[in-house]
Every structure is written in structure tokens, then in C-alpha cells.
Subunit: 237 residues, 2 copies
């Protein structure tokens, strides 16, 4: 029943859903992702106004609608687990809105880097957590993280802009570090306030625990992927 | 080859596409619809901020993404006809942005009425014009006008709000008339500036002309549908 994985963590069975604490944690997680997609959608559309051309504006609007398209799937799973999706999302509105308020891009390129780096960070984090979920929830989370390749557009635009203006590269590298810092700050705040989510990491019957060493490895992987993404844009991390 | 229709207008065959003036008119029309959907998308997302609840905000965001989803189809048809979609949309940016600037909603309900009445008016107008198009273009236009039933949400919300506050009904009725007026002003401006579009109405080889009497009947139908929509919201037109 519990096949062993490469990292020694046994997968979570569907039976975990009978554990009330696990269900609460899963609802929290899905709600955080869902509100994250909603707020990302709003910000992308707003930032799209900074686009230098109508083509660029549409490319960002497509990214925004792709994010928004995942919300329904997440809400449906929350409802399946017996919770109200709107009540479930409420605790995440403030920290996510705060993240966006603290990282309002000053220009088009900061907006592009934020869309790419911010989405990437969130997706890496949720993908790590997904490994500890029951199969059905895991599928929903993974499906909600697909970006349909829209972000290749960001890589092209940022690389071209840096090539044309070296100082921009320095500014955007600092910006990427600030995004990482703000994301960690808000993530820690959420983890501190949501007991159920933290308990998920502590494990339970039919569920593997995430020990400190595993958490350390997880953050190392997330940091490494962030650095790879920055490098792909042509930026130091 | 030309079956007769109820209103005595013969349908336009695919052969019309060999007529350069017809192609230009069709590209203009598709581009006007496409930019209309883009600007409606942006405004809906902006107006969604006025939503009293997260549920309402998401309902409007869903309407916005549905509109945006049509843009690709329209752009593909413009490209098929040998034109650049972005160059084709450029002449329509100013009049459509102007329409939105002149009809910025003062509150959530004005935003809802605008989404419902504005979209409805545009759809009725384009559906009328679609009758004069070659079959393939007509299908693209009709598909781009589908609202997927999202607007029933508007009817529910506006009816409930008017029932709770009669004065709101009076204000929104005036607002509906203003939307109709602004739409006509901008439509006339576009028709005056775009020779190809006006020529479409004048007909050509393999294409029926739209005589003055037919144009009169068209506007009578559009006005009537507008009145029906206002009545459905519980508003005088």
C-alpha cells in the first residue's frame, strides 16, 4: 500500500481524507492556491496596462486567463471535501493581497519578471507539497499549476531588453531577490497562522511526516529552481 | 446559389472573398469585434474591483475571460484573410477606449448594467451584420458572440438590488439610455471613418446591398432587443 519513494517518503493514501485535520489542511492548501490564482489574475491584467504594444498586452492577458481558468477546478475540489470555497479562501486574501501590494512593479519589465518568478516560485512550492497529498488532490494541484507555456514569452522579452540595456539587468536582479524575500515573508506568515497547514507537514495516520531535514531539502530545491529561472532570464540571483 | 431569406436578402457566397473591398470590410469588422472584446475584458476586470463579494468578483472575471477567449478565433480569421490582426485592430482602439472612458461606471450596479447592456447591444449589431457575410466568416462572428450564459448572473443581481432600492432603478434606467447613446455615437464615428465597412452595407458582386429601409429595420430590431434587455433587468428603456 505504501510504495517507497526515492526520498524515503511514503505516499499518502486516499484514506487520509478520513482524518479531519488532513481534510482541513488540504482545504487550506487548495484555497491558498485558488486565491493565489485569483489575485495573480487581477494583478496580471492590471500590469498588462504597462505593455508597450497590444501584442504584449494580449500575451499577458492570456497568461492571466490561464491562471483564472484553474480556479474552478480548485473550488470544485474544495466543495467535494465538504467546505465552502469562499469561506476557505477568506484567510488568504490579506497575505496574498499584501504580497502584491508590496511588489507592485514600477514598469513593464518588473511586471514580467514578477509574473515569471512569482508564478514559478508558487508552483515549485505547491508541487513539493503535492507529493504529500492523496492522489486525487495531488492531480488537482498539479493540473492547477500548468502554465501552458505562456511564460516563454517573458523569457524572450526580458532577455532582449537586458541585451539592449545592461543596467536594466542589475535592477531586475535586485527585483528578483526582493520578490523571493516577500514571498518567503508571506509564506511564513500563512504557515504561522494556519495550524491545519502546519499540521500537514507534521504528518499523521496513513500520512508521512515532513521532518526538518526534508523541509530543509525542499527549500534547497526551491531556491535552486529560482536561481535557474533567474539565469534563464539572464539575471543573477 | 442564392436562396431567398425571409427579409428578401440573398446570402453572401464564399466567392465574395475574391472581392478586395469585401475582404477589407470583413477584416475591419472582425478587428472591431476583436478589439471590442479586448477592451471589454479589461474594463470588466477593472469594474470587478467594485464587487461587494469575492463571489461577485469571480462571476465578472469569468465573463471577462469568456470575452477574451474569443479574441484568438477572430485574430485567426483575420490572418486567414491575409491581414495582420494588430494592424487591423489599431483604428478601433481609440473609439472603443473612448466609449469606455465616457461610460466608466460609478458603482457596482452601473458596471453590471454596462456589461449586460453593452455586450448585448454589440452582439445584436454584429449578429445583424453577420447575415451579410460569407458562411465561414459568419460562423466565426456568431461563435465570438456567445456569452455562455454568464449574464444571467447580472439579471439576478440587478433585479434584487432594484427591489431593495427603488431609486436605484431610476438611476440605472437613465444609465442604460446613456450607454445606448454613447454606443451609437461611437458606432457612427467608426462607420464614418472606415470606408470599407460602410461599403459592406452598400453591397457588391455576389453580395446583397443593405438599402436604407433594411438599415432602418435593423436599427428598429436592435432598439427593440435593447428595450427587452432593459425590461428583463426591471428597468425602463
Amino acid at each position: 500500500m505504501t510504495e517507497s519513494r526515492e526520498d524515503g517518503v511514503a505516499p499518502t493514501g486516499a484514506g487520509a481524507l478520513e482524518d479531519q485535520a488532513y481534510r482541513e489542511a488540504v482545504v487550506d492548501l487548495l484555497a491558498a492556491i485558488a486565491y493565489g490564482e485569483i489575485s495573480a489574475f487581477e494583478r496580471l491584467v492590471e500590469d498588462a496596462r504597462l505593455a508597450p504594444t497590444l501584442q504584449d498586452k494580449l500575451a499577458v492577458a492570456r497568461m492571466a486567463c490561464a491562471e483564472f481558468g484553474h480556479v474552478e477546478l480548485l473550488q470544485a475540489r474544495i466543495a467535494e471535501l465538504g467546505a465552502d470555497p469562499y469561506a476557505a479562501m477568506a484567510p488568504f486574501q490579506q497575505p496574498l493581497d499584501m504580497f502584491h501590494a508590496h511588489t507592485a512593479p514600477a514598469d513593464w519589465y518588473e511586471g514580467l519578471v514578477k509574473a515569471y518568478v512569482g508564478d514559478g516560485l508558487a508552483a515549485d512550492f505547491y508541487r513539493e507539497i503535492a507529493a504529500y497529498l492523496d492522489p486525487r488532490t495531488r492531480d488537482v494541484v498539479i493540473a492547477s499549476l500548468a502554465d501552458a507555456g505562456h511564460s516563454e514569452f517573458v523569457v524572450d522579452r526580458v532577455q532582449a531588453a537586458i541585451a539592449a540595456d545592461r543596467r536594466l539587468g542589475g535592477r531586475l536582479a535586485l527585483w528578483g531577490r526582493r520578490l523571493m524575500g516577500e514571498a518567503l515573508t508571506q509564506a511564513q506568515r500563512v504557515a504561522g497562522e494556519r495550524d491545519a497547514l502546519s499540521a500537514l507537514l507534521a504528518g499523521g495516520v496513513d500520512r508521512p511526516a515532513l521532518d526538518l531535514a526534508a523541509i530543509g531539502r525542499m527549500f534547497a530545491r526551491i531556491t535552486e529552481l529560482h536561481a535557474e529561472r533567474m539565469a534563464k532570464l539572464g539575471l543573477d540571483s
